[in-house]
Amino acid sequence: MRKLFEYRRLIFIASLICLMAAGIFGFYEYRQKPNRGLPYHDSFAIGKAEEWKALGGTWELLNGSMRNDSDERGAKLLTGSAQWQNYSIEADVMLLGEGGNAGLILRSSDEEEGVDAYTGYYAGLRNLDNSLVLGRAGHGWMEVAKPFFADHSQVLTSKWYHLKLMAYGCQLVAAASILPEGSRTSITVNDVDCVQSGRAGLRSYASGGVWRNVVIRQATQLDGAEMLGQDQAQDERSSPYQAANTESQSSFHAPQVGYLPQTRPSNPDTQPISSLKLFPITRPQSATIRGIVVLTSPALFVQDSTGGILLKQSSGEPVRVGDEIEATGMVRPGTFSATLEHASVRALWGGTPMPALAVTASQAATGAFDATFIEVEGHLRHKEYGPDDNLIFDFDSGSQSFRAMMKRGRGDYLYNHLKLDSRLQIRGVAVVDSAYTQDLTPFTLLVRSTDDIVELAGPPWYSAPHLVGMAIGFLLLALLANFVYHRVDHWRLRAIVEEREHLAFEMHDTLAQGFAGIGFQLEAIRTGVPEELLRMHQQIDLASDLVRHSHAEARRTVDMLRPRQLESEGLLSALALCARRLVAGGSVAVVSRSAGEVRPIPLRMSDNLYRIGQEALANAVRHARPTTLSIILEYKKNWVRLLVGDDGAGFVEREELGGFGVLGMRKRATSISATLDISSVLGKGTQVSVTAPLPPRLTFISWPRHLFKFLREHFSNATAADPPHPHPYRG
């Protein structure tokens, strides 16, 4: 039964390991699939973009499109799987500014913030030289380019184009056309040492851009031919551009045609923004200011080196964050800042973002930075969805509290990502108007995009879920360690038992045979010695007795070293067999029985109990001349007791029970934390009792309960229920 229990446990553990391995392998294979998640279509129209990750730029969802207002060089927005290999990405693209480009990324990896800080391919429309460009980035940039228009017309801002980029094997094809249904231009390159796989994305360089209808599909060899084939119907100037163009290889020096941003003459009579709050309130006055746009939504804010102002624009062109503008309107002074109403706005130039001014919450709470683009830190205490599709965050910073508001931006990505009690750095325009603060906080930050909120530190690690997780982790580790220890201990004991078996066989083959031989020789000598030599006969008799005794002892030692019957038949049966062997040929009866529910006894414990029982039986046979030997094995919940008794001569009990056998029995009992009792009545018999604690039955469910019980008893010095000891003698 013991073996059956062991086998079942081994099979269960092996099955568990196989299942886990199969699960891990299956999950890994699924993640490595080159087309996992394809085809893909964006959800910008319904305001969702959680699967996109930004590196640089100020990305937000607006009117069903993804928009980057920033003029940052190399702003990227990425999605997809690093395992995607042969696929195409296409989208409608619009450039927002001059002197840059916007387009699509394919097979991207190793991405970071930086101009060309990724490894992969990019195709875009560039209005610097009005070209379609296809290139490879590897923390550096290489490209091939082709005029987008055959007649070298301009690539225009605020106009929609359709762009498609495809990779199949090492063939790359980029194609662009004007929407709707305009003429198409394409480029193809065979990149010999190509990048094999990577994510897809959107990218802009210095111009910002807007993207919509992003579709990513698995590509086939026919897709490239189809993208190129539509061009073949047109004239040769629109034909696909082939790489390895020797002309492009030689022209690697600085360009002759550089880009100088367009600027406009400005009004010399502009006034510092901070001076407008001192304008008379009774007599409306007009004023002209010049500054940099720091926020366009939900309101237009402009800032110069003296402060910021809210503009209520009535006429003029649309502007972006970072534009230098001039505005003329009617001044309405406020307490901390002014408002320019009915403002006519004129953009002077772009690409001059205003850096945020780092202040403390206490400083901002004074109102001194009203309508100014600032950066402040705080701990996130509350988050919620507000009216008009806004996100509202409440912060604490020391003795101050403040609020931040922003559009949902790239969907719920930020809202789900930010954890309460984390420390954040927030950039935005500070406003003290009660329309935003609700008079609940001293100021509110109007945040431009999700990229203006940076997590400095997560919530403290010592939260309830973390502590519970750690406790469970330690528990599982301890379970595993205990299991491993138990197995190793078991193997060690088995090795010892097998070694003993080996010794027993050796002794049987040498000593026992030797003694038998000596005995025969002595018999032969006795036969040859004359009867008159009485003394010699006595000596031979004595020698024969010694040989017989030594042979019997050797046989007993061999039996003691061979516990096979212990494993194969159990402790009780093994002891009963031992007793029968000892009394073989005589009239002594052997009685054995067990009481209680049989439980598996650890190998070391059963081995020691067997030795003690064996010694007790040998002592009984040797000294007591019994008629009956009894062997009883009692099983209880937490202990097991072996009782070996006889009805022989008994002895007078005294305090010190010496003798080598008894010392050995006591030593064995101590080694398994057992108690040894030897009780005897002269003329009535002797009883040897060994009580040993059984280890608790540990399972995955019962382990914590047993550990808790032990710890409780240990610290409260409580004692478990002990079976009564009828005799005073203790081993």
Binding site: G114, D116, W141, A145, A243, P255, T263, I292
Partner: protein, 340 residues
């Protein structure tokens, strides 16, 4: 007694469990510590990248690294005034497996602490372009633009076009970059010493374009007899050119520009440009880092002389070599061209 046995049981179990855990940890550490031999890795961080000033450094560094069996990591902030971005980049590469850093600092003082921390981690540092106020030493070397020579070159050019007399404004004096201050002083010193009849007007600057235009406009209005302008940065060049387009002075004011964004001489006001030899700096910097890693002694400070580019020599082989943006590895040249 049963209690004692239970305690022994649990103590034995816990002790053995701890031993097993420690053994497993040690084994993991040993495995993690085993590393294959890898080439020298150097992070090259210019002020920004993708410009004709800094991409030549990329080509020089890349070519030298290939020759010496090293590999480089190239990245920079997207704007030259993004000091925080450059600091974050330096800190990031310091904590990774790089043996050296080649840095062109965006701001002299702000980069002191990140560089010192990188040196404490055992990295060899070479600062190029403009120095930090940290003395060179065992782990820190400089490969600098010879600002003194650049100032003399610009001063001589001004003297030539003004024929020794007139007035000149020096715009874009930015104390963020030590080298800019040095070149401004060098121009002034040269003119005062050699051409005392040339009057000098000085104005501070930044990397902010509108601010530079505003400063230039004010300078032009305040000095209607101005003959020439020396612009010390690319933004002050742009600001001055924009201001000259707005202010109709009727005079042919000539500009001598440092660190230009392009070699475009279409604007009639632009006379000449003083270019840093960033390609040579990239070559020298990588060579010095690799030599230091291999324990060789190298000069602590190396100076690279800039070059004056005019309409006459802009198409020369020397200028084309100096402004080469071709960093491409050999095996990719057949397929790809360099950026425009």
């Amino acid at each position: 007694m049963v209690n004692v046995n239970q305690r022994q049981f649990w103590v034995t179990r816990l002790r053995t469990s701890l031993r097993l855990l420690c053994f497993a940890d040690l084994a993991l550490l040993l495995v993690a510590g085993c590393q294959r031999h890898s080439p020298v890795a150097i992070a090259v961080i210019p002020r920004t990248c993708g410009t004709i000033m800094w991409e030549p450094e990329h080509s020089g560094a890349q070519a030298t690294a290939l020759k010496l069996g090293a590999r480089i990591y190239w990245n920079a902030p997207t704007r030259e005034d993004d000091v925080e971005g450059q600091i974050a980049l330096v800190e990031r590469v310091s904590s990774k497996n790089y043996q050296g850093i080649v840095l062109a600092p965006d701001q002299a003082r702000s980069l002191i602490t990140p560089i010192l921390r990188a040196m404490q981690r055992g990295l060899s540092i070479v600062v190029i372009g403009s120095p930090l106020p940290v003395p060179a030493g065992e782990r820190l070397s400089y490969v600098l633009n010879d600002e003194e020579a650049g100032g003399r070159i610009a001063g001589q050019r001004i003297a030539t076009i003004l024929h020794g007399t007139g007035s000149v404004a020096i715009l874009g004096i930015d104390s963020d970059i030590t080298g800019i201050m040095t070149r401004a002083r060098s121009v002034e010193q040269f003119l005062v010493t050699n051409y005392p009849r040339i009057r000098i007007i000085k104005r501070t600057g930044s990397f902010n374009v509108p601010h530079e235009q505003q400063v230039a406009e004010e300078t032009l209005k305040a000095n209607p007899d101005l003959d020439a302008v020396v612009t010390l940065t690319s933004t002050s060049t742009f600001g001055a050119l924009s201001a000259l387009g707005n202010v109709r002075s009727g005079r042919q004011i000539r500009i001598v520009a440092f660190d230009p964004d392009s070699l475009n001489f279409e604007n009639p006001h632009l006379d000449s440009e003083v270019l840093e030899d960033t390609q040579k700096m990239g070559v020298e910097a990588v060579r010095v880092v690799v030599a230091k890693i291999h324990g060789q002694k190298e000069p602590l400070i190396t100076q690279c002389e800039p070059l004056l580019v005019t309409r006459e020599n802009v198409h020369s082989a020397e200028v084309r070599q100096l402004t080469s943006m071709d960093w491409r590895p050999e095996h990719l040249r057949r397929t790809w061209g360099a950026a425009p």
